[in-house]
Amino acid sequence: MTLGFIRPKTVGELLEVLAEYKDGSKIVAGATDLLVQQRNSKQVEGKPLYLVDITGIPELAYINVESGVVRIGAATTHRDIARSTVIQDVAPFLADACLTVGSPQIRARGTIGGNIINASPAADSLPPLAALSAQVRLVSKRGSRDIAICDFFKGPYKTVIEPGELLQEVFFKVPKNPGNCSFLKIGRREAVAISRLSVAVLLDVDESGKITEAAIAPGSCLPMPARIVRAEETLTGKVPDEETVEAAANEVGEEMVRVSGVRWSTPYKKPVICALTRRAIWKALGVDVD
């Protein structure tokens, strides 16, 4: 049930409101998750809430790079991230991921902050953010704290954010080789949820062609965003050949089964995520394969 709405104009005003109402308030950004969830649930259950709109706060929508750190304000839309020349330069796979979200209309309203807080296993911004070792900054009237993106989630649709806290921004270091990254996703939004598998890959390759660092983060196949360390280790220190890439890709499938067990969907999902990862690794290396 909604008691009413509040539209602060500054972060200062917003934090006052959040401190006053805490779990009696609900932040609204693009509303693309919130209104769908409200419609699907019976509305009557739950505590009466004030909706606190953050779309009227210009200081929460920004993309900037300073001293090698990229900062994206929580209220920045997928549309603005996908179109940002800064993001296209420093983390093109994040721009690609945001461009696959929903539809033009959804991207125009949906924000990266909402995507992170909603914490869906299928949230498209999360694999690239995990691969970038991004951190989120939470602020409240009492102060602020930074948390690594992979430590921010407790499970599907669950995060460690506390009542009264705002996700202010997500930030990450500019990668050494922004060109060696890729995001691949299969399945369109019309398709059933099972086919929304995705994967983000970020590599660092030296002049001899050796992979010196690897980050691999799949989407929709684990309960929450995570890096696949075994896959990354398989690549690190190697000059990639077909066998190595295949072995690394297979580790992603193995990890999915280790974490989630064998399910009815496993015979489909496992080979698909392996094949997708293989393609994504090659794509990050600048090689198009099918």
């Binding site: 909604t2 008691l3 539209r7 209104l35 909706l51 929903g102 539809s103 209309q105 125009a108």
Partner: protein, 165 residues
């Protein structure tokens, strides 16, 4: 610090198709409710109500959005364009003419939303490729036409609107 308003109902103002309007809204109203029920602009359609079909597409501050997913309070101070704003002094907009000429309308339920997505595209990109058109209308479902005629109509409209190229 001055207290921020807590509103149950509020009189908000915004612009619809070039006209300033003032309407009383509640926290649970969506933009589509305000347009259809309060302003009687029933050209904008509600299909799914959950952002999947695009029938409710309007242009908000220059960008196409699903009006079924915009809380009405977010429309305060905004500039909204709906399908009713396309026709000018009794003359159909070139996009509307092209839709008619190409039989891009069957049942017509998707048409208002398609037109608004197409209009936003052509303003930004007066001569889009077919692929760009398909991408621009990817959030608008049509169960009748199979999209072919719609894409042709938009392509043709781009020529009618800016024949220089």
């Amino acid at each position: 610090m001055k207290q921020v308003d807590r509103c149950k109902m509020k009189l908000i103002s915004f612009t619809v198709n070039g006209t300033d309007v003032k309407v009383e809204i509640s926290a649970s109203d969506r933009l589509i409710d305000v347009l259809r029920d309060k302003l009687r602009l029933t050209g904008t359609k509600e299909g799914c109500g959950i952002g999947e079909c695009g029938a409710c597409t309007v242009i908000m501050n220059g960008v196409p959005v699903n009006s079924c997913l915009v809380p009405a309070f977010q429309a305060e101070g905004s500039v909204i364009e709906t399908v009713e704003g396309l026709e000018q002094s009794g003359k159909l907009h070139p996009l509307q003419e092209a839709f008619v000429d190409h039989a891009a309308i069957q049942c017509g339920f998707c048409t208002p939303g398609m037109l608004m997505s197409a209009l936003a595209l052509l303003r930004e990109n007066p001569h889009p490729t077919r692929e760009e058109i398909a991408r621009a209308i990817s959030g608008n479902l049509c169960r009748c036409t199979g999209y072919h005629q719609i894409i042709e109509a938009i392509e043709d409209a781009s020529m009618r609107m800016d024949p220089t190229e």
